[in-house]
Structure formats: C-alpha cells, structure tokens
Symmetry: C2
Subunit: 281 residues, 2 copies
Amino acid sequence: MGDERGDREDALFATLSILSKKWTPAVVLALAEEGPLGFSGIQSVVSGVSSKVLTQSLETLVEAGVVERTVVTESPLRVEYALTDAGYELESVFECLADWGGRHLGQDVPVIVVADEDSRLTGLFQRWFEPTYVVHRAHDRTELLDAVDRDTTVVVYDAHLPGSEHVDVPALVGGVTEACRLVALRTERIDLGLLDRDCDAVVRKPAAKEAVGAVIETQIERYGEPAVEREYHALCEKREALASNVSAAVLAESDRYADLCARIEALAADHEGANAGDGEA
Amino acid sequence: MGDERGDREDALFATLSILSKKWTPAVVLALAEEGPLGFSGIQSVVSGVSSKVLTQSLETLVEAGVVERTVVTESPLRVEYALTDAGYELESVFECLADWGGRHLGQDVPVIVVADEDSRLTGLFQRWFEPTYVVHRAHDRTELLDAVDRDTTVVVYDAHLPGSEHVDVPALVGGVTEACRLVALRTERIDLGLLDRDCDAVVRKPAAKEAVGAVIETQIERYGEPAVEREYHALCEKREALASNVSAAVLAESDRYADLCARIEALAADHEGANAGDGEA
DNA sequence: CTGTATCCCCATGGATACTG
DNA sequence: CAGTATCCATGGGGATACAG
C-alpha cells in the first residue's frame, strides 16, 4: 500500500525539516549529554539562544516526539525536558551526519573566532562567513578561552572584552596557539596607541563585509609563515593603518612611527633577500 | 590536536547546514537516481524549483564538494552536474535519516494533495499545513496523477487545472483511491452548478488558513466512513454552501435544490437510525 | 540552454518588555 | 522560573525579465 519510494522520501524530508531549524540539533545534543534539563538549564548549555526561539524549538521537538515535556511544579512553574527514545536514537543519526562531515569536509576549512561584547556583531560575522569558515563566537573572557583551540586560524577581537577587568586577548590566545593570527577590532580612532597592540591586522568598526573578509583571507594565507615574515607583515599593516588614519604631521613628529618605519626597512632587506632566494631555488 | 568533541559538532552542523537548504536534498536525490544531468534536466526532475534557487543550491553543493560541475560545450552553454564520491556517500546518510523518520514519525500523518494552477497558492498551503500533514503539490493533470496515491487522504483541487482541456479531478482521483476525500476550491461565486460536482466539501478562494484547516480536519475525521454517511455529509456541505452563497429566493425556485433537500431528508432517517443503533450498542 | 538581475513577499529568529 | 507579546531586521526563496 502506497508508494514505497515516496514514503521514504517523505520520511527523509520530514526528518530534515525537524533538524533544519537553527537550534534543534543543539538542543537535542544538550539533552543527550546533560540529561533531563529545565528550561533555563537548556538555555545555559545552548549558549546564544533566546527564550522565544528556545520555546519554539522545544515545541517542534515535542510535536515531533523527540522531546518529552513534564511539568514538575506549578507556581512557581517548573518544567523538565527529556529526550524520548526516539530522541536518543537521533544520536546515531547525528553520528552518521558527523561521520560524513568529518570525512568529506572541514579538513581545510579555517576556524575563526570572533570575540566581541556585542552578540549582534558576532552573529553578523557568523552569518557573513559561515560556511566559508567555521565561525565561533565569544562574548567574554571565559567564552574566548572556550572557543580558542590549537586549530583556530584567526581570532578577530575587540580589546574591550568583559571579564576580570582588562583582558589581554593576544596573551590569552598566545597561551593556546602561537600560530593563530590576531585581528584587532577598534571602535575608536586609530592612533599611535596601536603600536602597543600585539596583533597582525586592524579593522575599524563598523566594518563592511568585504573589507573584513579580505583581511581575514590574507591572514589565512599568511598562517604558518615564519616569525620574521610575520613581524614584517604585522608592522606593515600597522604602518598602513596609521598612514590612512593619522595626519602626516603627527606621524612626522612621532619617534615611535619613525622607529616603526626603520624596523620595517631593516626587515625589508631580509624579506627581499629571502624572497629572492626562494625565487631562484 | 584540537577539541575532539567540538570537531565532531562542527562536522555535524556543517553537514546539516548543507542539507538544510530547501532544495539541496532533492537535488542530490535527483542526481543519485537519474545519473549526471544538465541544468534543465535537474529542473525537470526536481519539480517546483526556480532557476535562480536551483543555481544557488548547485553552488552550495559544488562548494561543499558534493556535486561536480563540468562545462560540456560553450555557446550554446551546456553544463553537466554529477555527484562526487562524497555525494554518493550521502545516500547512506539519507538512509539513516529516512530510517529514523520511518520508525518514529509519519505513521499517522495524513497526506494532502493540493492541485491548483497557481503555484503560489499550493506553496501557501504547504507552508500552512506542513508538518501537521504531508502536503504534495500539483499544478497540472500530470503532476496530480503523480502526486495522488492510495495513501492520499484529502485532495484539495481547483477544477480549472491545466492539461488536456478539461480535467475531471474527482474521476481522476477516484481511479486511484476510492476513499480519498475531495475538497473543491472555487474561485467564482458558488451557484447551483455546485450540484454537478462530485466533491465532499467546497472552499471559496481566497480562503483563510483557519477556514481551510477546519475543512480539511473534518474531512480527515470522516475518512473511511461508509458510502451512505459520506453522501449524506457531502450533500449537507453542499446545502450549507448554497444556503450561505445563493439568495433564498433563487433557491426556493430551484427544483434541483428541492431535490437536494429531499434527498438529505431521506438519508437523514437512515443516518439517525444508524446513529441511534451505534449509541445503544 | 544556462544562467543573472530585480523585485518582492514573508518566515525565521533576535531584542526587549512583560505576565502568572 | 518559564514562558508570552511585540516589534523589527535579515535573508531565503519565488516570479519575471533579460543576457551570453
């Protein structure tokens, strides 16, 4: 009875329509790992989801028979969400998906971390660059440490990050990965204070998608380059940023800017020499 | 190197982000079943997708490494799309998903077919009632025959359906399933011509979501009822539709309306009797 | 034939404030 | 605590017209 092929397609599309919502897989994962949870329990495990959207996601999961909702106490209302058997069986489906993904993609997709107080900004970056890159978001010191690992290619960060007064992002990231490239987001005018920052590039907020994308791309290209080249590139970036944001008069009077240029000159010789050697070899 | 747990999650989400687009699974399925295809080949197999969206879907699939794009001839431009190895391996992932879906959902979800020339209307119905029901869309005679099978619970149709001049939808559907309920969509005023139509209910376009939903729901409840009850219900629906759309004066003069009422009266006796019997048993 | 370019609708989901 | 209610920005995707 009925079209076998069509039935299987229906089942496939129905399953995908459940898992296609933005937060449903994360919720299922959270319940699978942390056991039964209350509403806000889920909300803290699944970071970033708003209460409204979490409600909606849970509704669709309950309707789909993946999650069970039990009222524990009324007044104050307390609810517990748990996976049903069907929900637990989803784990093997997730493994299928993750296996395929692990085998066929992600091998050379760079991992970016965006660290900024404003979650709208980090969300924007995610929409912009996913799925070209894997984008992780961090909104304070803790989340940053959580997000950065040895595979992180680029960290784009605003220095004003909440968490224990002042957060020294470059030092923090450097403690985990040496190679990771650092792009500073600056809200204020760019000035000579930039020279204190230990970063590979600077972007001024608000930034256009194309501009940020270009900066990230060149940082990815330069990932893994030798320390000398890296310093050279970083200094050049800073010089350019200063040249286009600070008046020539001020720069001319600055000893630090003069030092910067001198250092670049000195490195340039090695740089040229190295390039020439590469070219001939 | 790197956070194992996070890597697997990334792989999972990355895979889902590919399959979450509306048409990508259908395209992969089409290529898996029909072999390598040209652009319009895909567009005809995957019915309902516009060229723009198909282009976008193919782009994401190519970027994901699921589909390979080969230019066969330039001028006139001819292109061939084929699954890569990764694409073929997706079939087992689809099986996972379909298996889970087959086991845990879809067992009692009614199947609705919406047949109307205007794809916006059918799309609207799909958005309205999916995933409460499985909604299939048909825009001409061929697609209708394709969509209807023995599991179809309700067909909502506009009689003006393209394909070989006049399409007699009730006869067409009746050739496949007897039990399937028929809801007619009428653009024009409802008049005594309604009595020529062999349908279980009528809805006037444009119709609100709630109204249509209610009609479909009662049709689903009545699915499988005995022929006598079905005729009785159908006649009652028609009488109501006429009573609220045609002036009492016109109805009073119509022999056919009188016949309708008489027939209802006659059936009502059996109906009452049957109900009473059920109630006492 | 194989797409772009445009315009437009509306569903998704985020932010915020409020209720029982 | 566990949601509603409301408003709003964004983007996916559809229709149509057009280009190479």
